[in-house]
């Protein structure tokens, strides 16, 4: 693998931070660091699940809708207490993941089509659950999740770090993880080697959806509101971008956890940098597009060599 593919995202991240330290007033503050980290958490968590799915040569477009569903369920079941509501929200995500996985692994529907269906339908379901309304939430437990700090570090950031560690162990140290990259690398060969291809693919989509539900819960807690029509909108694209920029090829066969986190952070900081230099949101999007193209271009080079 070319050095640029492997390390490009870290170099870009370091350059960007260095630039900001010099050129952006108020960047090198604890408050700003906290803010950037907290803001990147939902995308980072979803990108971790997305990286696993992409590792199997798949894709999951439904993550934003899963966030909406989990957010709506959370609000709906809050009356039974925060713990029950969170559990229900996670189960909701799990079910969507099962549907994705069954459609793809069992019925052989292309991942992009199957999850596109749930991207559309899932958002609708979330609106039905929430009665189409934004619900404000006043719950002490969720309040703690949304704003508590441990040793100065926001709780949600610690949650994201813990998830990253778990996913990293899963990918590098378990048979499931080995199977994920084997399937992505060569599905036919994996099947002939006795790899339970369908079960592993199903597992990847369930994992991705559950992580999306976690992101939905965190987002809801932070905003103190469940807003199923907007929460998680277009987050699938940010997550895919983070994964690809982080060096996980869309063609599967490799999962890079640290790279994915760096990719998510990079996209976050680019947005923040442009905003703090008074460039409009439209400029941010165009810069993001350029970065995606650059990442894909670097990977193309690798494929040719």
């Amino acid at each position: 693998m070319a050095w640029t593919t492997r390390n490009g995202v870290y170099v870009a991240l370091i350059v960007l931070i260095a630039f900001n330290l010099v050129a952006t007033r108020g960047f090198a503050t604890v408050d700003n660091a906290r803010l950037q980290l907290v803001q990147v958490v939902p995308v980072a968590i979803i990108a971790l699940g997305m990286a696993v799915v992409i590792g199997t040569r798949g894709i999951d477009l439904s993550v934003g809708s899963v966030m909406a569903i989990s957010s709506a369920l959370l609000a709906l079941y809050l009356g039974y207490g925060a713990v029950v509501a969170i559990a229900v929200a996670l189960v909701g995500g799990l079910l969507v993941g099962l549907v994705n996985g069954v459609l793809i692994a069992r019925f052989g529907i292309q991942p992009i089509v199957a999850t596109l269906a749930l991207l559309v339908g899932g958002r609708g379901l979330a609106l039905v659950i929430a009665n189409g309304r934004l619900t404000e939430i006043f719950d002490p437990t969720l309040g703690i999740i949304g704003s508590a700090r441990v040793g100065g570090v926001p709780l949600v950031v610690l949650v994201a770090v813990a998830i990253a560690v778990v996913v990293a162990v899963l990918i590098t140290r378990t048979t499931f993880g080995r199977y994920v990259v084997a399937i992505g690398g060569n599905p036919e060969a994996s099947a002939l080697a006795g790899v339970p291809v369908r079960r592993v693919i199903l597992g990847a989509y369930v994992l991705c959806a559950v992580l999306a539900a976690v992101a939905g819960i965190i987002q809801t807690a932070r905003l103190s509101a469940a807003d199923p029509s907007f929460v998680g909108n277009l987050i699938e694209l940010s997550a895919i971008t983070a994964v690809v920029v982080g060096g996980t090829p869309l063609s599967g066969g490799r999962v890079r956890i640290l790279g994915t986190l760096a990719g998510a952070l990079l996209m976050q900081l680019i947005g923040a940098t442009l905003i703090s230099h008074n460039l409009p949101d439209s400029a941010t999007r165009m810069v993001q597009a350029l970065i995606i193209l650059a990442a894909v271009f670097v990977q193309r080079d690798r494929a040719l060599s």
Binding site: T175, G185, N186, E188, A189, L192, A193, G194, P196, R254
Partner: protein, 528 residues
Amino acid sequence: MTAPVAVLEVQDIVKRFAGVAALDGVSLALQGGEVHALVGENGAGKSTLIKILTGVHQPDAGSIRYQGEPVAFDRPLDAQAAGISTIYQEINLVPLLSVARNLFLGHEPVNRLGLIDFGRMHRVAREILAGYGVHVDVRRPLRDLGLGVQQMVAIARAVSAEHRVVIMDEPTSSLEPREVERLLATIDRLRRDGVAVVYVSHRLDEVFRIADRVTVLRDGRRVHEGRIAEITRLELVSRMLGREVSEVARARTRFDARATDDAAPMVLEATGLERHHVLHDVSLDIRSGEVVGLAGLLGSGRSETARAIYGDGPLDGGRVSVGGVALARRSPATSIAAGIALIPEDRKVEGIVPSLSVRDNIVLAALPTMARAGFVSDGRLDGVVNTLIHRLGIKASSPRQPVGELSGGNQQKVLLARVLCMSPRVLLLDDPTRGVDVGAKAEIQALISELAQAGIGVLLISSELEEVVEGSDRVVVLRDGAVVGVLDPAEVSEDRVMALIAEAAADAAAAGQDGASPEGLPDPGERS
């Protein structure tokens, strides 16, 4: 036959890919009203020749003459426009469009407004297809019809546009016997109409039934050309395989030291394997410590038999038992658990995972047994992996090197290491030395007999007859997906194998037969 000007003639065609000659001075002359069979094993150059005839490839040297005039087809469209049409193995039509649309795709009849004249199109389509004995609703989507009818539509399409040459590449590979009959009748009709037909097929029965002339290619050269009536089946097979009929099998020093033990227990028994169109009542057994060769031409069901035993893909009937225990739910995973391991034919597509390391490729199939509660310890894997790398002499910079970077021979050794990791009782080796260099080939062959000596039962498939004959204790011969003979150690020779492959399947029964049954052959060399 008085041969006037050939409709299509190529002379001394040379075509190289990356410096390797796929065709080396091949000539072919097609006469109108003649069916010309083109035969040869894998890699003989048949497809390259066809692609040159149809303008897909351009020859590096040599000339093409069409109706006496020198021509150069730069694109497939040029050849088509000139009147050469090709029917490929996979039907190249649009499944969702109607039968009539498919028939007229690209030259639809139009009315005065320039719109498609559906009325006329449907009427003419019905008339054309009726000429082929096909009566269907031409407005239905093509995919609703059977494969045989689809093939007919493809042929009708190919010849409805005034073509002078029709090339058919394995047209019967997916057809029912009844549909084959219809196809052969159609070819007969084309011949009467003066069309030149190139017929590519592995099925010798069909070749001998329909062809007037035959060209045999081997390793990119023409090794035979002549009237089909003037060559016997045995001669044809020997030309295809490149072995002399009279060539006596080499002194069989080979495995005599390991004379098989008739008392050794059966490790694998496969009975009555059946798969529509592919396998017909295939049975074979392997004793502990025995190498059983599986011989037959390409398309005879060699790989399919190995796959069926391994539990890959659907099966319409048959049983497989390992060590006397019948296997229930069939899948690669259950086969592995029962002790059956497979090295598939196509190393790159079905074998290695190129992006993964040597280590991860080796342990892939054995992971469930090497992991604890789903957790894998690299340290523990490394012990096993390093032993295997050392034992098989795999040349890699480290166990962490991606397998895609290794040479073909070393990739094949990685696959061998993968199956050894599973401590198998039965090894199914589908062309294990394909595309590896001479040195690695000898090492792999030595390893196979070493494994057999250790008590593993081996099923050996090879595209080289010599390798099967020299490396096996017994040889099972397949033709058209059926076992046509089993040669015991004393009888194994290239002559005997070729004779079995070439044997006419009771000519009288040839019409409509779908595979010879073993008991129908009066050959003394068969299994009792």
